[in-house]
Subunit: 317 residues, 2 copies
């Protein structure tokens, strides 16, 4: 089978951990151990988030006053290099020496007319007090938005339209290469009216970009690995329950948090509906079990309605 | 023909320019215009330096005190992402839309027993006064060395032994892909006695890594583009002359500056001797002319001794 796996931010950094090289490496090693069985049995394509890494690069750039901080497309490209390197090296250390790897820098096209450009909503970087946020907004032309009583920079999160390196990725997958690509949702780019490709100050949702990648490659399975064991109906409420097997139509009748499970559910429904394949959502350590239906949530046209795990299997927190 | 081109630092940043995104983009656009004719006619593989970029990433990391600065392997990976992205995008904007591109993150193996680890000589990052340099050396375990009356951090520059992603690069070149790889000499890595691949605090010379790439791919031509029009015999002296066509054996009887033309000449001689192909050294804007023997210096077993340009062609500065 051909499987696209999207690693969530926590695969690289647990909540609250300082973003040291050592912490990232330890987490990537754990992720590599979880993914190795998939790489042994299937064609594996890996994509990943980059939120904390781009946040750090932006903080470092802001702390050094010698040069104007770089734009988000360039920071995204840097993060694809940094994270791709660690994943390739650590997974390479587990798999047999003859398994070929490629980390492909990936440019993703967005639509200049995407409504996201009219209403930036994706918070990035650190929190500021209001006055400081407003000063930075004036200075750099940022949009800012409230965030837990403080303020953060917000940027547009347009939908991914096209992955420019798709042919190359396809050729490598055909040759049996483990490909790491479309990191952080891909480097955001757009075509100008003159047909020139340019970088964009935006962040593409990595799960939506992962779904586009999985659809474009004709993957049978699209797996989103995160720090939730499954998709929870009524998450956080006393009657919350973990979903086991659901149809995209039924899943879309429920509502989920915009910043966390929402995009994953949207990406899963999109992939399942368009391809007829299976989208899985669950914990990193359950990667294999999710595909076998033994853990996490599977979304597919083959299922009807909403099927839940017995509450003994997953305990509401 | 299959051509490997190594872009020198000045292809991305002219001496003294601040390292802004805008400056890098303008320089990369110029480089892309120079390389486009080669990509139209030949199989083109591009590699590049990363000295100023890694220097900036290190300065930014040092300015932000929240996290310990990242190691040189990780900074190298970041710079491969940043620079590869700009080259791929700008060259892509010139070539026909159907030309496929791939920027491949590249790990290069070095030998733990390389004598360079006993005597670090490659200066990186900013200059410091002696006391500051000594404090930093104690704090971070750096080696430091004198640099024009001040001090800089010096790191080992071991020889490149093996390019791990070589098969992938070969497959892509066979498919007609313009490949950007081995940036900054590649990410420095080594195998531990247990066979685990790990990153190394070192910098691999990009011209030696480019020569290894060109040899490994069976390239007919290995072109090093820099800010010198040619290799100069007695550079800077009144009797300096620009070399036109030379044999590796004759070229190796001359001596060149260790930090600049020395590694290029060594890389050219190595490539020409081992492969029987042609190595070229000269200006970015002369890329096509160098291959045709109309500019720059060509090194090959086909030539005998040292052949010079008439002094009317290149004027000693």
């Amino acid at each position: 089978m051909r499987i696209v796996v999207a690693l969530g931010g926590n695969a690289l950094l647990k909540r609250g951990q300082p973003l040291t090289v050592q912490n990232q490496r330890e987490n990537v090693k754990t992720a590599a151990r979880a993914l190795a069985p998939l790489a042994r049995q299937h064609s594996l394509i890996i994509t990943h988030g980059n939120g904390p890494q781009v946040g750090l690069l932006a903080l470092e750039a802001a702390a050094y006053t010698g040069v104007e901080p770089y734009t988000l497309d360039v920071l995204g490209a840097e993060s694809e290099g940094m994270i791709g390197y660690m994943i390739e090296q650590e997974l390479g250390n587990i798999l047999p020496e003859n398994v070929p790897f490629a980390t492909i820098l990936t440019q993703v096209e967005v639509d200049p007319a995407d409504p996201a450009f009219q209403s930036p909503t994706k918070p990035i970087g650190p929190q500021y007090f209001r006055a400081e946020a407003e000063r930075l907004a004036r200075e750099h032309g940022w949009s800012i938005g409230p965030d837990n009583g403080l303020f953060r920079r917000v940027v547009p999160s347009p939908r991914p339209k096209r992955i420019f390196e798709l042919r190359v990725i396809e050729w490598l997958v055909e040759r049996g290469v483990v490909v790491i690509c479309t990191g952080g949702g891909g480097i955001p780019t757009m075509l100008t009216p003159d047909g020139v490709l340019v970088g964009v100050e935006a962040v593409i949702d990595k799960d939506l970009a992962g779904a586009l990648l999985a659809k474009s490659l004709g993957a049978e399975v699209f797996l989103m690995l995160t720090d939730a064991e499954a998709v929870w109906d009524h998450w956080g409420a006393p009657d919350s329950r973990a979903l086991r097997r659901v149809s995209p139509a039924a899943l879309e009748t429920l509502s989920f948090a915009a910043g966390s499970m929402g995009p994953k559910v949207a990406a899963a429904c999109d992939f399942a509906r368009v391809t007829g394949g299976r989208a899985g959502i669950g914990s990193l350590e359950d990667a294999v079990a999710i595909i076998d239906g033994l853990a996490g949530t599977l979304v597919s046209n083959e299922f009807e309605g909403l099927d839940y795990w017995p509450s003994l299997f997953y305990q509401p927190e």
